[in-house]
Symmetry: C2
Subunit: 342 residues, 2 copies
DNA sequence: ATTTAGCACTCGCAGATGATGAGTGCTAGC
DNA sequence: GCTAGCACTCATCATCTGCGAGTGCTAAAT
């Protein structure tokens, strides 16, 4: 769509003003706060045109204008892109996360974004596609329990497993398993998506125990964090408790979250839900995805009312995004020598 | 307070009916649903008496009655005690919790109680006052990290610590530390509330590392679980989003929670907050405490509107309570021989 | 051709009014 | 001690009204 500069300015002004007041915006308001050089009548004419284009609407004859879904889309996609990304140095520690504290790092990062944007923030991160195994260790604890340790370039996962074995057995198993696992990602082990040679057959039981342990640890390290749910309470859009309820119910249900955040793979994507029947009607979600190769290993999503401060949200997610891709493209100190394996 | 049976019956009826409708209760309602043998006029007389006693009130002349704080207190303390405790066999797994999954057990238990009562449930549990140390192990992982393992009768805590040491040193340290720690609770170690003999001086550094590790692990195993926050949304009392907000803010703030749940030590205690200025005005909290000796090691609190189904809540918490004290008084298979130490 | 002043028109909103009915308190009789 | 009956109170709801914010349109000005 090709809008005149003035029309763009007016559309932005409507969205910005509506963000501040949460009310329909009148031509007079626009004139006084954004376009002092024109009369309200002129602005009214422009507003009428923007309405014909489907970018604005007004709920009743004598009320001000509100942006439609299309209007916001256009604003986000064509008017905002020029904004700079925010500086977010202190947020990128997320990608220095170690496997044994992913959830706490996710939590603090999500909390930070939530504080910065003032919206609910949902983060997910799977180091399982990212961490490269370096070594497998098996240590006898007592008669029938063994501590299994898998160390990666991203930290260590460990768990007690039930197994009777003497020290020599453990030692040789450690060696063999290290040989098999080294250089692979945890995900590959979990899926066992590589050839099992006859050599491994002997250690099949051990091997399966380890796969199981790795899989169970992934579930345990609950790799999704939702912070700032209470932020929603600040917005009049959620004053109605049934709206709040449906939003909170979505947060509870990991599966519905998954589908909601299932981005098409764009770097930053904005979803605006105005479907009358959607549980998150009148909500907007801005999602940034972080990838290594073609695998999405992390996502940061900001959830709020359609009347959202997109400028701020996108600039923060953008900043995080650029910092992170910078990080990901730096060879990692610990695993640079082994990275070629997969 | 000595009430006639009929007055008790009427007070109960008011509270029960108000629980169902969330509205003031009229004499006619009571007559139809609870006291068919009397006319509404008789009931009105009784209601007036109960009002004089400060157990009921009515917001305006032509409205039905509502219980006051005192009325509910009396109901809970003097009328309800005859109710049986619910069977809750499947909830007591909480006290079979192992240190390394306290938080997940707390979570599921809190969730179960929340589902059973339909209110928000807050649980806390500290095995640190409860678990008796059996053994300390130090295992070298690589050049400068050591896996410290403290096994207790309630599971194992473990963490990587940074330390350079050869195998012999680790072995002898393990032995000495085991001698010092064995039979003590984790809390005692954390507080170091026992005599440090000159013998220990040599291992002071190791000792301090272990104390630190134990303390940090306690923080890590976030030992408080709040489940069913969304339940509040179902109650008209929380339709007003500012009320909801203050409740949710309390849930966020662990310190304010602490003070709120700081029970006087009764087995089951009901707090009804009607103070005009309290952030949790018109909320009720029923807390059950679980003790070993004089230490409270766990608490289960149910949070909801003053108009709460006390009967159900208390019977569930009571059931949990009795199951647990039964459990706690059974000598534990693993630590019966060492329990005399403190 | 674009902008603007002016004005009629629309419609939500807030306050006033009145009818309704639920519920009580009281009194008198059973 | 219980209850029928009735006057009284007061919240609630629907209806109405005036107000004012805001628009759309037209005609004049730039």
């Amino acid at each position: 769509m090709n809008l005149s500069e003035r029309k763009k300015k007016i559309l932005s002004a409507v969205i910005d003003e509506n963000f501040l007041t949460a009310e329909p915006v009148s031509s007079k308001q626009l004139q006084e706060n954004y376009l002092k050089d024109f009369s309200s009548a002129t602005i009214r004419n422009e507003l009428a045109t923007l309405e014909e284009l489907g970018l604005l609407y007004h709920p009743h004859t004598s009320s001000g204008r509100l942006p439609t879904k299309d209007g916001i889309k256009l604003y986000v996609d064509e008017i905002l892109p020029s904004i700079k990304s925010a500086s977010v140095e202190d947020l990128t520690k997320m990608f220095d996360a170690k496997l044994d504290n992913v959830s706490s790092v996710l939590k603090t990062t999500a909390k930070a974004i939530s504080e910065a944007t003032n919206y609910t923030t949902i983060m997910s991160l799977s180091l399982y596609d990212f961490a490269i195994i370096e070594k497998v260790g098996l240590v006898g604890i007592d008669e029938n329990s063994v501590l299994a340790i898998v160390s990666t370039d991203r930290g260590t996962i460990k768990d007690l497993i039930t197994l009777e074995a003497n020290e020599e057995e453990l030692e040789s198993s450690s060696k063999i398993l290290t040989d098999i696992f080294r250089g692979k990602t945890l995900r590959q082990i979990e899926n066992s998506d590589f050839l099992i040679t006859s050599e491994i057959e002997k250690y099949k039981y051990m091997f399966e125990l380890m796969v199981e342990m790795i899989a169970s640890q992934e579930k345990k390290n609950n790799q999704i964090a939702i912070e700032g749910k209470n932020k929603l309470l600040e917005y009049p859009e959620f004053a109605d408790s049934s709206k709040l309820r449906s939003a909170f119910e979505i947060f509870e249900e990991p599966s519905s979250l998954e589908s909601l955040l299932d981005s098409t793979g764009q770097n930053i994507e904005t979803i605006i839900e105005t479907d009358e029947n959607s549980p998150v009607k009148d909500c907007a979600i801005v999602t940034a995805s972080y990838k290594v190769g073609d695998k999405t290993i992390g996502k940061a999503s900001v959830f709020g009312p359609v009347r959202m401060d997109y400028k701020n949200v996108i600039s923060i997610l953008k900043g995080l995004s650029s910092e992170i891709s910078h990080k990901l493209n730096q060879p990692n100190k610990n695993n640079s020598s082994k990275k070629g394996d997969d």
